[in-house]
Symmetry: C2
Amino acid sequence: MPDTVEGRDATDLLERTRSAVDPELRSAVASLPGSLRRVAMYHFGWERADGTPASRSVGKAVRPALVLAACRALGGDSLQAVRAAAAVELVHNFTLLHDDVIDEDPTRRHRPTVWNVFGVPDAIIAGDAMSALALGLLAKDRHAASAAASVRLTACVIELCAGQQADCAFEERSPGEVTLDECIAMATAKTGALLGCACALGALYAGAGEEKAAAMDAFGREAGLAFQLIDDLIGIWGDPEQTGKPAGADLAAHKKSLPVVAALSSGTAAGAELAELYRGPMSASAVRRATDAVERAGGRDWAQLHAADRMSRAVGELARVVPDLTPAGDLLALAEFVTRRIR
Amino acid sequence: MPDTVEGRDATDLLERTRSAVDPELRSAVASLPGSLRRVAMYHFGWERADGTPASRSVGKAVRPALVLAACRALGGDSLQAVRAAAAVELVHNFTLLHDDVIDEDPTRRHRPTVWNVFGVPDAIIAGDAMSALALGLLAKDRHAASAAASVRLTACVIELCAGQQADCAFEERSPGEVTLDECIAMATAKTGALLGCACALGALYAGAGEEKAAAMDAFGREAGLAFQLIDDLIGIWGDPEQTGKPAGADLAAHKKSLPVVAALSSGTAAGAELAELYRGPMSASAVRRATDAVERAGGRDWAQLHAADRMSRAVGELARVVPDLTPAGDLLALAEFVTRRIR
């Protein structure tokens, strides 16, 4: 199926964002002391584990693209916001480093994770350094928005931490104990917060005040939640050829993703069946039955409708700051891009 | 033995620092989301593991005291620097949380460490949040020095990370492979950098420019290295009653502390004997022989002389910014305090 016009636009936009932000990002990473730099270079896919150069481009740069697009949507010069965009990407990557340690994930983006290659200590330490590097980039920036952006980005890191901690805590609880509201709050903190912060930083760098920055934040959060819902659907019904994971991977891992929790809390017979399946080991046949149970319990439909609802709320928030949506075309294309992958 | 006058002065100063900084620190920690807050409250000794209040005061607050004393030494109002002092203490504690995970240390300050009570994921996540909280405190501060202080503190965190990584890398290397220069560079990054940064932040909050801040940083670094040398001597010859650890604890753990590396690289027969002992398991008798070997190889004398040398360099750096040392009395008392523990 050919890309839609929006899809091509967003792909171009991400490509252009990488061209604009990569030099800033690479120069920041290059400023790290030797062995921390090596770990970071590997993580970003710029070097192989043995330290030889690699040209593999990893990461879609959605968050930096949101920073720049939000800045342009409010009439700002996005060149001024490149450093903020790099800071947001560094924060995203520091959380990936630590999340991979915590979740003991052996691979990311089809490569062994940093802890898997360099060990847990180096992964923790390099993540800490990348977090400080991100906040240092903003502090060094002589733009008038620098301090307000730092306040928002540090608050966002704390929210990301709270989201990751809630996620870990949910894993310990039995199916049925986690409510859908808790699950949505967790996804908002873990995924929505940084997409929202990216948009808010773009607004601040366009000279917007706190009110417009807050509306931009809300746009990014709602789009981020839609993104998470679609991601969760892909985790169950995604095409293994495209995702690189076996079908139903999230169910096999007993993940309490949003469609699963919606099904578990549906009060339906299919929901009870799913809860029963989740109490045991997930064989291939159990995964197939669980997939079917999520669908019959309404988890799939709920997630699709709720994603659409969140996207419409996102556009509503955006219209509050950019009443004529024309200059916000790039932002909308990005929001469409991250949520269109299963249609 | 009664405290010296300097000792009493420093003890009073630390007590007054805690009174001034604790409210800011507690209010920052209280702003964390629920479960992150609980982990941080436990770490600071304000709550027990079960969440009930504890009044135990943990941590000597040396770093916040340096911030305030450096500010006063340059004629600043130290009340203005309380937030910066709290930020430095948060950074110190975030590194303790992560170092304990990395080193798998089961106790700190006579209590089980956070990872030991709450698990590794919570310790990593709470550390990440405390780091962001520290930098957010500075970013929110409307003081003119806030941006410059943030730049210094983020650079310092990166240096602390490099120091911790070097420390981990040294553990992997065999005795004799680590040079004394490498070991000093590691201790400077791991311990000196934050003491230096504390003094530099105090200077910036007194309205000093980069040159004076840099000299204050150098003072703190030199005093910090002296502190580390004394700490390493205590790790070998410290009184078990005072340290709460068995005699020779660092030798039993094969630690490549500064006196040990000085002995190993001394080119003496005693140094070779120590290297041989370090290749095997450290029984109580091996620890006794190693203690003796470090002394005969000159490791103990070197460390004591080098600590005195670093302290005199520290005073030299201080005299560059405060030619008449009278207003720097508190700073000197603190430097004496942290390095007098073995005399």
